[in-house]
């Protein structure tokens, strides 16, 4: 499988995909100390995004969320890479300041939690 998208922040990563069908609010919705999703009723509630290729349609919530991505990185709990349908400001800025590879405009319906994938964000490509 080869999916093509757009570079948001460059870099390379290989790992297991963690896929959500919902938006993620990093501020208030993710524990910055552990990377565990804490938002009540979220389809990833209780799961950790640390060390995963995190796949979700788009970010939501407070712009402070960008700093949460940076805090996760400093705490070694950041995702390896982020893959979105449409990256918005909070995720984009978070990936730039935390230096997390990020691509968007990817067909997310092809991806499932547990898939082993490799992200080449320099080229905007995901291989599975």
């Amino acid at each position: 499988m080869k999916l093509e998208g757009r570079t948001i922040f460059p870099g390379q990563a290989q790992g297991f995909a963690l896929v959500s069908k919902m938006g993620i609010s990093f501020y208030g919705g993710v524990d910055p100390q552990t990377g565990v999703i804490t938002e009540a009723g979220h389809d990833l509630e209780g799961q950790t995004i640390a060390g995963k290729v995190l796949v979700y349609p788009r970010g939501k919530g407070s712009t402070v969320g960008s700093y949460v991505l940076y805090r996760l990185k400093k705490n070694n709990c950041a995702p390896l890479a982020i893959v979105n349908a449409e990256t918005e400001t909070i995720t984009a800025v978070g990936c730039i300041i935390a230096e997390i590879p990020c691509i968007d405009r990817v067909d997310l319906s092809q991806l499932h939690t547990g898939d082993r994938v490799s992200v080449d964000a320099d080229q905007g490509i995901l291989m599975g």
Partner: protein, 400 residues
């Protein structure tokens, strides 16, 4: 996206690592949102100041940007901090938090950011004129700048606002462009409005309805409002931004761009009963249960502080009562003796901060205020019940 030779040089590191990182943020946002070029800006307002929100990592990032030679290129002011910088002890803020908050402010200061710590920069010198391109964070101030002043800004976050400050630029997209400032929905208001609490409730009533329409671009043209003051518009902007995510609205006869547009038939009408419902939604408890009273969301104007002094003189407050405002406005209140009158009654000034960003989660049971925005955060973030009252009624109940 076209970058000038100077912008490309900054991106390559010619102005140091902080400016390089800043330009990278702006270039990426420009690319995502289809900007064709950068715009020079004249003013910045930065959010993300409270240590409670930034945490150690956020502080570290700001310190790295300061260390990397970041310097504000235009007038840049700062949102409220997590505490009153001078009077935090009286407000129950501990020393460890205070020390961390001071480290945040000193990183900003090092970058030439004016540490105003207020959500109302337009009340004391950061007042962009009509048509000016700016880069502001703080949703209530963004809405005020776009709608009431007719300046042009997107809804920036903390890092993108800082990036704009350090480069003097922002990518040209969304609210910077004429076509995106056109109204997309006509809201007719058929209700009577008497003060800041009513305008706040109206912001909620409209905001809730707009959210349910799921429009891609939310620029309401609002008719049926014939009178408004600085204070009621300030309250309305805060509320419609909080509940509706609105960054720009137009009101014919009141806001400067409104007359440029045709008025289409109304898409939705806010009747008296909907305004009453919005007020009732925020009136969740009785006067007896209230143990916290807060005025100043957004930060109070001098006129509002003068009014508090008039009503409170010679009385005694019976609950924890915070008055949140900016340091410059507080300075004028000091000079006029209002501060003394208010403090003699037992109310406390919480300058530089506010009840949205101060670390007060769980400290109180129920809050009385005139601000619909403050109600939202009191409930969602701090788990307080809320009691939305008129400005005068808040003071009356606090001194009963």
């Amino acid at each position: 996206m076209h970058l000038t030779p100077e912008e490309n040089a900054i991106l390559a590191g010619s102005s140091g690592p902080a400016a390089q990182k800043a330009m990278r943020i702006l270039e990426t946002l420009g690319r995502i949102y289809g900007a064709k070029h950068m715009l020079p800006i004249t003013s910045v307002q930065i959010s993300g100041v409270s240590y409670a929100n930034l945490g150690e990592a956020g502080l570290e990032w700001l310190a790295d940007m300061a260390e990397g030679g970041g310097k504000a290129q235009v007038l840049t002011t700062l949102n409220p901090a997590g505490m009153d910088v001078e009077n935090y002890r009286a407000l129950g803020i501990d020393e460890a938090f205070a020390e961390n908050q001071r480290r945040v402010l000193s990183a900003f200061e090092k970058m030439g950011v004016i540490t105003t710590c207020s959500c109302t920069p337009y009340l004391f010198g950061n007042l962009p004129r009509f048509g000016e391109h700016i880069a502001w964070a703080e949703s209530s101030a963004v809405c005020f700048a776009n709608s009431v002043l007719g300046a042009r800004t997107n809804r920036e976050g903390g890092p993108s606002a800082l990036a704009a400050a350090l480069t003097g630029r922002t990518p040209a997209y969304n609210y910077h462009l004429d076509q995106n400032r056109q109204p997309t929905v006509h809201v007719r208001v058929d209700a009577s409005l008497s003060g800041t609490h009513d305008f706040g409730a109206l912001g909620k009533a409209i905001g809730d309805r707009l959210q349910s329409l799921k429009l891609a671009q939310l620029v309401p043209l609002i008719t049926g409002i014939t009178e408004a003051s600085l204070e009621t518009l300030k309250s309305f902007c805060a509320s419609i931004a909080t509940y509706g995510g609105v960054a720009l609205f137009h009101i014919p006869g009141l806001t400067p761009e409104a007359n440029a547009f045709e008025i289409p038939p109304a898409d939705l009408v806010i009747h008296q009963r909907e305004l009453d419902q919005a007020r009732a939604d925020l009136l969740q408890t009785t006067a007896e249960e209230v143990d916290f009273v807060s005025l100043g969301c957004p930060h109070l104007s001098l006129k509002e502080i003068q009014r508090i002094a008039q009503l409170i003189e010679g009385k005694r407050v019976t609950k924890e009562f915070w008055i949140t405002t900016s340091r410059p406005v507080k300075g004028m209140a000091d000079r006029m003796g209002y501060t003394q009158i208010i403090e003699a009654a037992g109310a406390k000034f919480a300058t530089d901060t506010c009840c949205v960003v101060a670390p007060i989660e769980g400290r109180f049971i129920a809050m009385a205020t005139d601000s619909a925005k403050a109600c939202y955060y009191a409930y969602a973030k701090n788990h307080f019940k809320t009691r939305l009252l008129s400005f005068d009624q808040v003071i009356r109940e606090a001194t009963q």
